[in-house]
């Protein structure tokens, strides 16, 4: 017997060991709640999801895709070939062993590339520990396999050496298989299964609107327990998703809260959620700690509360999230971090009433006044007194229903809305507002976990909207847009909702507005998360700005990969302290472009960015820039019209 002849059996042993390990994980997943999964469709879609969707994300970091393709490809190829080696005729062929050696060589090349990402110094976002040792194990396995197969291909000239190389491969291979349930290699099977049984299959459907796959799911308010308290409260495929994490840290690098020194790292959180299901006090985490980490007791287990000073995750971590979805956008394993955070928040808010102190007031107002700041609904249109702002209750129907949102109560937001209203009037748009009948859309309540208040507001708004006839809902607030467009359908309200940037771009394109050129000014555009990432709208605002003749300078992070202003998800209400403020970081990125104006398209972004002190770019909503151009286009050179002079009698 040559040493190489044991290689197929090594693979069999590895598979068996791994199967046992994974089986223990599967038992954990099964403790999660049931979830409806279309296995057949998922399996059919798997190749495309893996080769297109996953690859699209992985490939943003070329060093990762260049590393992973040969490593995983080589490993799978070598293993597959070796299983065929159980056929005696093949095992006797030196050509066969040459192919096996080649497969290990490919794998080894991939491992070398991975080693270069980690040694002598790993990229800061990567986890160390077992993840740092992974390329060593893979490398020893590949090298051992390569040499053993190569010696077999050469006719086994050095049998003693080939036993040594085989034993090295066996040790490394079994070490990998032995930690397949808890170590880095877990990602392979969990990741593939997650792609098949993904809780949001629509995100892979190229035909579906982006927003359809980003809206939150309604919570059954009659359920025995509301929201997620323990790992067992998550759906099984969510537990599966946590196990798919490869701790690549792309989420962490994109997370605005992490950057601002708030105690949140999406990577750490997902690792904690995976560890929580496993139980025990071990937290085999070797990434960067949560910034300004709050001490926790570390108690874990399928039925142990996760978010608690005694548990694995401190409440401050949970409330630091802006729900910007940058982590989701960056995740190569397609994990839905924000869903998990909202599930956990729902339990904290609905079952424990444990919301951050400063978030209590907006929630109480939302419950009592249908408005997070406790202002009377009929005052929503106060800002527009003296302007032409038709109420739909008077008209009964209108082409466009203008949803004013929270901005109507805020002096800064009012400037944007005034510009928008004047623009609509100037273009002769048939529009109207709900006026005093418009309640808050419920975005804030929902993101702060108060699903009951959200559902009540959603149902009330849907009922109000059902009384009037309109073709489209127009809004300058991406949060309202997202909630009404993507989350109200679950409550019986399906509407054609359009963001003002897209609507105004239509008006300009169709010639209903004649803006003058604002050429000579450089601007940069800040994508609102709920418009760009959540709803995929990154083109219209840019098209509009370009139509105004403005010189558009892009920030390094823009479009769907833009950075949050810090204003979403109730984060400003939760107000978890960090080292700096998210908008300060974003304004610094604005400054790097040299543009003196940052164009925005969301009242939250406006408020957050304008809150930055010191010398900074001017913050202008796209609607304000357009109105400025429209006004400039209308200005008559003659100046004021003369009044009648008294005629002599």
């Amino acid at each position: 017997m040559t040493a190489a002849a044991f290689l197929p059996w090594l693979i069999v042993a590895m598979v068996l060991v791994a199967a046992v390990q994974i089986g223990r994980r599967v038992m954990l997943w099964r403790a999660g709640k049931t979830a409806r999964v279309d296995w057949l469709a998922g399996l059919k879609a798997l190749p495309r999801r893996y080769l297109v969707d996953v690859h699209h994300v992985v490939d943003r970091d070329k060093s990762a895709s260049r590393m992973h393709v040969p490593t995983a490809g080589g490993l799978v190829l070598a293993s597959g070939l070796l299983v065929l080696g159980l056929v005696p005729a093949l095992a006797a062929s030196r050509v066969y062993w040459a192919f096996v050696a080649l497969a290990f060589l490919v794998m080894g090349a991939g491992v070398v590339l991975e080693v270069r990402r980690r040694y002598p110094r790993a990229l800061p976002r990567l986890s160390l520990g077992r993840w740092q040792r992974l390329p060593v194990h893979l490398g020893v396995f590949a090298a051992g396999g390569l040499l053993t197969a190569l010696l077999a291909a050469l006719g086994n000239p050095l049998p003693a050496l080939s036993f040594v190389t085989f034993l090295a491969a066996a040790a490394a291979g079994l070490a990998l298989a032995g930690t397949a349930g808890t170590g880095p290699m877990r990602h392979a099977l969990a990741g593939a299964t997650h792609l098949v049984a993904h809780p949001r299959p629509r995100r892979f459907d190229p035909a579906s609107q982006k927003g359809e796959a980003t809206g939150l799911r309604p919570l059954d308010l009659d359920a025995e327990k509301l929201g997620a308290e323990t790992p067992a409260d998550f759906a099984w495929n969510r537990l599966l998703a946590f196990d798919a994490c490869v701790q690549c840290g792309r989420c962490e690098a994109a997370c605005p809260a992490f950057a601002a020194g708030q105690p949140l790292s999406p990577k750490h959180l997902i690792a904690d959620l995976a560890a929580a299901a496993g139980g025990g006090h071990a937290r085999p985490y070797a990434g960067m700690p949560y910034p300004n980490e709050r001490a926790v007791g570390g108690a874990a287990g399928l039925d142990a509360p996760i978010v608690s000073p005694e548990g694995l995750v401190h409440p401050d971590t949970l409330w630091s999230c802006t729900t910007c979805r940058a982590c989701v956008e960056e995740c190569p394993m397609m994990i839905e971090h924000v869903d998990a955070i909202v599930d956990l928040r729902r339990f904290q808010t609905l079952e424990l009433g444990a919301v951050p102190m400063k978030a209590e007031e907006p929630l109480a107002h939302s419950r009592g006044c249908d408005e997070p700041n406790g202002r009377p609904l009929f005052e929503r249109t106060d800002f527009a007194a003296g302007m032409s702002l038709p109420r739909i209750v008077e008209k009964g129907e209108a082409e466009v229903l203008l949803w004013l949102g929270q901005a109507a109560y805020d002096l800064r937001g009012q400037r944007t809305l005034k510009a928008l209203i004047q623009t609509l009037n100037s273009a002769g748009v048939d529009f109207a507002v709900l006026g005093g009948q418009e309640r808050d859309c419920g975005d804030l309540a929902r993101r702060l976990g108060d699903e009951a208040t959200f559902q009540r507001l959603a149902r009330a708004n849907v009922e109000t909207l059902s009384r009037y006839r309109f073709a489209r809902i127009l809004t300058a607030d991406p949060h309202a847009l997202h909630v009404i467009r993507n989350e109200y359908p679950a409550f019986g309200g399906s509407y054609d909702v359009v963001h003002h940037t897209a609507f105004l771009a239509e008006l300009v394109e169709s010639g209903r507005l004649a803006p003058a050129s604002l050429a000579g000014r450089a601007i940069t555009y800040h994508d609102p998360c709920y418009l760009g990432r959540y709803n995929g709208e990154v083109e219209a605002p840019r098209a509009l700005l370009d139509a105004l003749g403005l010189e558009r300078r892009e920030m390094a992070r823009s479009g769907k990969r833009s950075m949050c202003c810090g204003g979403g998800g109730g984060a400003p209400s939760a107000d978890i302290p960090g080292d700096t403020r998210i908008p300060d970081i974003r304004m610094g990125q604005v400054k790097e472009t040299g543009a003196k104006t940052v164009a925005v398209a969301c009242p939250q972004c406006t408020a957050m960015l304008e809150g930055v002190t010191g010398d900074r770019a001017e913050v202008k909503d796209v609607a304000e820039l357009l109105w400025e151009a429209v006004e400039a286009g209308r200005r008559t050179p003659a100046g004021a019209a003369p009044a009648r002079e008294l005629q002599p009698a």
Partner: protein, 684 residues
């Protein structure tokens, strides 16, 4: 952002009439009326406020309803016949276009007017009394005349409604006919209109009832009234509260516009229009007290110069609408700037009273610091960008130079400002050292903050000379080097010091001081106050018929009050003819200009004010090299048009054009310097 801004930006609905915010301008008489009608100038003046975001602008202070209350004295509006209606229509359309509301004040002035104008009808009042301020003796009204005036008010209200105005108020303040009936001071009647308060209120009730009948219940009618006449024998605060409660409970008025004080003589008039010597909102307690007793909205004006004070007054519930009338004269875009988050850009009223002082001496209302107000047909409140960017140099950081630099920078030019001293503000830095004149410093403070925002290159402690200017290769050079005080031509004038020497601390006299004034402005009067407060025994001598003859009626009484209180001896009609030393003291010889009698004073110091002479060396050093030889075309300047030299091609090519503005041309005042700058630079 100011505190409570949202309280100001809430709409107010009165009888279905929605006013978009809580900021208004009260009816006043800027003297822009023409032939008794609000024509172009008047309308553009108010339109600017409407563009600037004001909620309600009220025009036509003391607009007359009857021929025996002539509109002529302040070029006011006559609503006594239908010919005014088309002008009202045009006016209200103009204001409504911008979302603002427009109302007028209607009145019969009774004895508070002149009989020797327009129709030469005797003035009328409740009784045959004389008002010190107007110096007219009234004829007591007979019943038939009362009925006729009541009908005149009703007809005038109908004209307001027909003209599309959003409402009107009657004036029952400042001693007009309605409050002449109210006040026991002026009403000595024994019939049903006199005696008890109930009887004295009757005329006003008849007026408002008739107006209500003429326009219906849904038309907004208000009343301006005092909350306390603060006059012995006049209406007490309790009387005023009782009147307010009675009139509102009868449903006669939809709002009350409450002031403090009255205006029967010079000092009362000055107090009712508080200048910069008063704290802000000095009489806010009066409308607040009346608001507690009535259930109609309360308006109030009286030295609310800043939005923060106005916002507090509304937020705390003292008033429903805050009137910032003079504040809008200084900056008609007040509300717009607030709601655009540009509150820092508001040019705040300093309370100089220049606007109102001018109208009482037959002039038109002009703002001491905003030369565009009242000149909207030719002067812009928002400066347009120039087609080409030029390089400009302004020499001198007084208000003329600052305004020139501001306007040129707003035009988009690259501006460098040279200032010899270490401070910007020029002569205002001197004037504002004089006790209550301190608030003048607000004028340069705003201008400097604008220059900083506009990125003007400000070079302090730098005297501009030919080489320094040439180094910048300017296209435009503005010489605003101002003036310096002179000591006059009296024999021995070298023994005198100037008011500047005293205010700037170079001279600190003690003992007996003779202060001689040839100008009649604030300078000598305020310096006399400073000297007296330093402990000097001061005699203020002037060539004029009275002290401070050039100072207007809202400021002069305050000067006089202070000078009397401080024991300053006031000697008008006298000329300083000689100063000579005797021992360690001085002898000042003065001559009575009427009798030629000469007197001598033994004093420790002689302080003089003869105004300033231009500092023009630099101008003449540059003149010969300038493409326009330093000349300004007066026809174009007066018409508000570009300088012909700049647009007819003569200015093209190498070199600069040179202009001289402000006191560097001839010693005048703050407004003159700022207007010189604006009207020239807006087209450069």
């Amino acid at each position: 952002m100011i505190a409570n801004a949202e309280a100001l930006l809430k709409p107010l609905t009165i009888k279905g009439l929605t006013i978009r915010n809580r900021v208004m301008s009260t009816s006043h008489a800027p003297s822009y009326g023409k032939d008794g009608k609000p024509q172009q100038r008047y309308q553009l003046y108010h339109e600017e406020k409407a563009k600037g975001g004001i909620g309600l602008t009220m025009f036509g202070g003391s607009s007359s309803v009857s021929m025996d209350s002539p509109a002529a004295p302040w070029n006011q509006i006559s609503v006594a016949d239908d010919s005014v209606v088309p002008f009202f229509r045009e006016f209200s359309e103009r204001i409504h276009r911008h979302g603002a509301r427009l109302m007028i004040q209607l009145t019969h002035m009774g004895r508070r007017t002149k009989w020797d104008t327009e129709h030469w009808l005797p003035v009328k009042s409740a009784s045959a009394t004389r008002e010190p301020a107007s110096r007219a003796i009234a004829k007591a009204l007979e019943q038939e005349e009362i009925d006729r005036i009541v009908a005149d008010f009703a007809a005038a209200a109908r004209r307001c409604k027909e003209g599309g105005l959003d409402g009107c108020e009657i004036s029952a303040a400042h001693g007009h006919l309605v409050d002449q009936f109210w006040s026991p001071h002026s009403n000595h009647r024994t019939d049903k209109y006199g005696g008890s308060l109930e009887n004295r209120m009757r005329f006003g009730i008849e007026v408002l009832s008739a107006m209500r009948e003429a326009v219906g219940d849904d038309y907004v009618i208000g009343m301006r009234m005092s909350g306390d006449e603060m006059l012995k024998g006049g209406l007490s605060h309790e009387d005023c509260v009782a009147i307010a409660a009675e009139y509102t409970s009868r449903g006669l008025v939809d709002f009350l516009n409450v002031i403090g004080g009255q205006a029967r003589d010079h000092i009362a008039h000055a107090i009712s229009l508080p200048n910069m010597s008063f704290p802000v909102a000095p009489f806010l307690s009066l409308p607040s007290a009346i608001k507690r007793e009535v259930d109609v909205p309360i308006f109030h004006a009286q030295r609310v110069t800043d939005l923060a004070t106005g916002a507090r007054a509304v937020a705390e519930g003292h008033v429903d609408m805050i009137a910032m009338t003079r504040a809008h004269i200084a900056d008609p875009h007040l509300v717009k700037k607030l709601s655009e988050g540009r509150a820092d850009d508001i040019r705040q009223c300093v309370g100089a009273g220049y606007c109102i002082d001018r109208i009482y001496v037959g002039g038109d209302a002009l703002c001491i610091q905003n030369a565009a107000t009242g000149r909207e047909a030719t002067m812009p409140h928002v400066i347009d960008k120039a087609a080409t960017r030029k390089t400009a140099v302004v020499v001198g950081g007084g208000v003329g130079g600052l305004e020139a630099a501001r306007v040129l920078a707003e035009r988009g030019h690259a501006v460098t400002l040279f200032e010899k001293s270490d401070r910007l503000g020029g002569q205002i830095n001197v004037a504002s050292r004089a006790t209550w004149r301190e608030a003048l410093s607000g004028i340069p403070r705003w201008l400097v903050s604008q220059l900083q925002k506009l990125g003007v290159d400000i070079r302090l402690n730098t005297e501009a000379d030919e080489a320094a200017i040439a180094a910048l290769s300017p296209d435009i050079v503005i010489v605003a080097t101002g003036g310096l005080p002179q000591k006059g031509e009296a024999k021995g004038f070298e023994h005198a010091v100037t008011t500047w020497d005293v205010l700037e601390g170079r001279s600190q006299p003690s003992g007996t001081v003779l202060l001689y004034d040839e100008i009649g402005g604030h300078n000598a009067a305020s310096t006399a106050e400073v000297l007296a407060k330093m402990g000097c025994l001061v005699e203020l001598v002037t060539h004029d018929r009275m002290i401070g003859e050039e100072i207007g009626p809202t400021n002069q009484p305050v000067h006089l009050r202070e000078l009397y209180k401080l024991g300053v001896l006031m000697t008008p009609n006298s000329e300083l003819i000689e100063i000579y030393p005797e021992g360690n003291r001085l002898i000042a010889a003065i001559r009575n200009t009427m009798t030629d009698a000469e007197e001598e004073r033994v004093v420790d110091a002689v302080v003089v004010d003869y105004g300033t002479l231009p500092v023009d060396d630099l101008h003449f050093a540059l003149k010969d090299k300038a493409k326009n030889r330093g000349l300004t075309d007066d026809h174009a300047i007066v018409a508000g048009e570009p300088q012909p030299f700049e647009i007819n091609g003569a200015a093209s090519g190498q070199g600069y054009t040179l202009y001289r503005i402000g006191d560097a041309v001839a010693g005048r005042n703050i407004h003159a310097a700022i207007y010189d700058a604006l009207r020239l630079c807006k087209d450069l």
